[in-house]
C-alpha cells in the first residue's frame, strides 16, 4: 500500500532517524546531550527561517487568499479545543485543570512539527502556501487563551458556588474573583502574544515580506541552506527528551495514550479535507492538517504553568512530546499526504468535470 511505503520511506529520512537515535541514546542512559544554549537557540533559528520563508512567499504570491484559511483555522482550532475538553473531562475523567491544559495543548500548534512538515514536503518535491507560517503564528495563542478563559470562568463559578452556600451577600467577592480572572487573563494574553515563538515568527514574516527573494540572498545560506541540518541536530535533543519521558508513559495512562494518537489523526485528516475544500494546494492542505494535528510542547508549559498551575505538566508534556510528536512526524504526515493527494485528485477530477461541462455549455 502506498501509505505504508511512504511511512517506510519517511522513516529512513535523516530527520526521523536522528530523532529515533536520540530516543535510543536516552534509553541506554548515554550522557549525550546537546548543550542547553544550542537547544535553546535552535527553535528560535527554525522559527526565524520559517518566518522569513513564509514572508518571502507571501510577497511573491500575495496574501489576499490568506483571510479565509486563517479564519477557518481559528474557528476549527477553537472547536477542536472544546471537543478535546469534553472528551478528556467526560470520557477520560480528568479533573478540570488537567482537562483544560490538555485540551489547549492539543488545540495549540507545534513549531518543531511544522518545521519537520516543511522538510517532509521539500523531500516530496511539493510546495505549500507561504501564509501558513502566519496561521502558525496566530494559532499559537488562540487555543491557550480560550482554555485559560474557560478555566478561569469555571474556577470563578466554583468559588461563587462555595461562597453562596455560606452567605448571601458577597457579591463583592464574586466580583473580586471575576476581577482576578480578568487580570490573570490579560497577563496570559500578554505573555502568550509576546512569547518568543510568536514574536520571532511574526517578526521574520514581516522581515521576509519586506526584503523579498533579493534581500534574502545574503542570508540564504544560513536561513535556507542550513535549515534541514539544524532540524536534524535539534531532533537529537528532542529524541533524548522524549526518550527520557518514556518512563512517564505509565503515569499518563492508556486513555491519554490513545487520545494522543487518535485525536491528532482525526484533527489532521479533517484539516486536510477542509483545507482542500477551501482551495489550498496539495502541500498546503498537508501543512494545514499538521497545524491542527500538532500539539505544543515547548510553548505550552511556559504558558500553562502560569495560567493553570494546578494542571500536571507531566501529563501534557509527556503526551505531546512523547507520543503525539513522534506519531505525527513518522506516521501521520505520510497519511495526511496520501489523503491530500487523493482529495486533490478527486477535486481535480471535479474541476476537470466542471471544466468540461463549462466547456460544453
Amino acid at each position: 500500500m502506498e501509505i505504508l511505503q511512504l511511512i517506510q520511506a519517511n522513516l529512513l529520512t535523516p530527520i526521523i532517524l536522528f530523532f529515533l537515535f536520540g530516543i535510543i541514546a536516552a534509553r541506554i542512559k548515554s550522557d549525550l546531550k546537546i548543550p542547553e544554549a544550542i537547544s535553546e537557540f535552535l527553535p528560535i533559528y527554525l522559527l526565524a527561517a520559517i518566518g522569513l520563508h513564509g514572508g518571502i512567499e507571501m510577497r511573491n504570491a500575495g496574501f489576499e487568499n490568506m483571510l479565509i484559511p486563517m479564519v477557518v483555522a481559528i474557528g476549527i482550532s477553537l472547536l477542536f479545543t472544546l471537543n478535546h475538553y469534553q472528551i478528556l473531562r467526560r470520557l477520560g475523567k480528568f479533573n478540570l485543570f488537567d482537562s483544560y491544559a490538555l485540551a489547549s495543548t492539543y488545540g495549540a500548534v507545534g513549531a518543531v512539527t511544522f518545521s519537520v512538515g516543511l522538510s517532509f514536503l521539500k523531500n516530496q518535491g511539493v510546495t505549500s502556501e507561504g501564509y501558513l507560517a502566519a496561521i502558525l503564528a496566530v494559532l499559537e495563542p488562540v487555543s491557550f487563551i480560550m482554555a485559560i478563559f474557560l478555566t478561569n470562568i469555571a474556577v470563578a463559578k466554583q468559588i461563587r458556588a462555595k461562597k453562596q452556600s455560606f452567605t448571601n451577600d458577597d457579591v463583592s467577592d464574586i466580583e473580586m474573583g471575576l476581577q482576578e480572572t480578568k487580570t490573570k487573563l490579560s497577563q496570559v494574553l500578554h505573555e502568550s502574544i509576546t512569547g518568543k515563538a510568536i514574536v520571532i515568527l511574526l517578526g521574520c514574516i514581516v522581515i521576509g515580506y519586506i526584503i523579498g527573494e533579493e534581500g534574502f540572498t545574503s542570508i540564504k545560506i544560513v536561513f535556507d541552506g542550513m535549515f534541514t541540518g539544524a532540524i536534524v541536530i535539534f531532533m537529537i535533543e528532542m529524541g533524548i527528551i522524549a526518550g527520557q519521558r518514556l518512563d512517564d508513559l505509565k503515569k499518563v495512562g492508556i486513555f491519554l495514550i490513545s487520545f494522543a494518537i487518535i485525536m491528532p489523526t482525526f484533527n489532521g485528516v479533517i484539516g486536510v479535507l477542509v483545507a482542500t475544500a477551501i482551495g489550498l494546494s496539495l502541500g498546503g492542505a498537508v501543512m494545514f492538517g499538521l497545524l491542527l494535528a500538532s500539539a505544543s510542547f515547548i510553548a505550552a508549559p511556559a504558558i500553562l504553568r502560569h495560567a493553570i498551575p494546578e494542571a500536571k505538566p507531566s501529563l501534557y508534556i509527556t503526551s505531546a512530546l512523547g507520543i503525539t510528536f513522534p506519531y505525527n512526524i513518522i506516521i501521520l504526515l505520510p497519511i495526511m499526504f496520501v489523503v491530500s493527494s487523493i482529495a486533490h485528485d478527486v477535486e481535480g477530477s471535479i474541476d476537470l468535470f466542471n471544466y468540461i461541462t463549462q466547456d460544453w455549455t
Binding site: I298, P301, A302, R305
Partner: protein, 100 residues
C-alpha cells in the same frame, strides 16, 4: 568590622515559578535579590535534564527579620501545593544594614 544580623531566605523552585516569587517580594516592598539556575531532585522528581523550562532556579533574598514571616507565609500558601519548591532561612551578618 561590625556585622549586623539579618536573615537570608533561599528559595529553590521551578524556573517558571520565579516570576511568582519576585511578585510576592515586590508586594512586600523587597526589590533586592539574587537568582541563578540550578538542577535538583526532590519529591517532584529529577529536574534539569530536558527543556530549560523544566530546570530549577534559586532565589536568595537578604532581608530584615520583620518581613520574613509574612513572605514565607505567602509563598507557602500560594505555591507549595502546585510547584516544585523548597525554602530555607539562615542567619547572616551584613555590613550595611541600611541596604536591606
Amino acid at each position: 568590622m561590625k556585622f549586623y544580623n539579618v536573615k537570608l531566605l533561599t528559595v529553590t523552585c521551578e524556573i517558571l515559578a520565579q516570576k511568582n516569587i519576585i511578585e510576592i517580594l515586590k508586594k512586600h516592598e523587597i526589590t533586592g535579590y539574587t537568582t541563578y539556575e540550578v538542577e535538583g531532585n526532590g519529591a517532584r522528581g529529577l529536574r534539569g535534564q530536558g527543556f530549560k523550562n523544566e530546570k530549577n532556579v534559586k532565589v536568595e533574598i537578604i532581608m530584615r527579620e520583620d518581613k520574613l514571616s509574612d513572605i514565607v507565609e505567602e509563598i507557602s500558601r500560594t505555591m507549595f501545593a502546585n510547584f516544585a519548591i523548597v525554602l530555607y532561612v539562615s542567619d547572616v551578618g551584613v555590613v550595611r544594614t541600611e541596604k536591606f
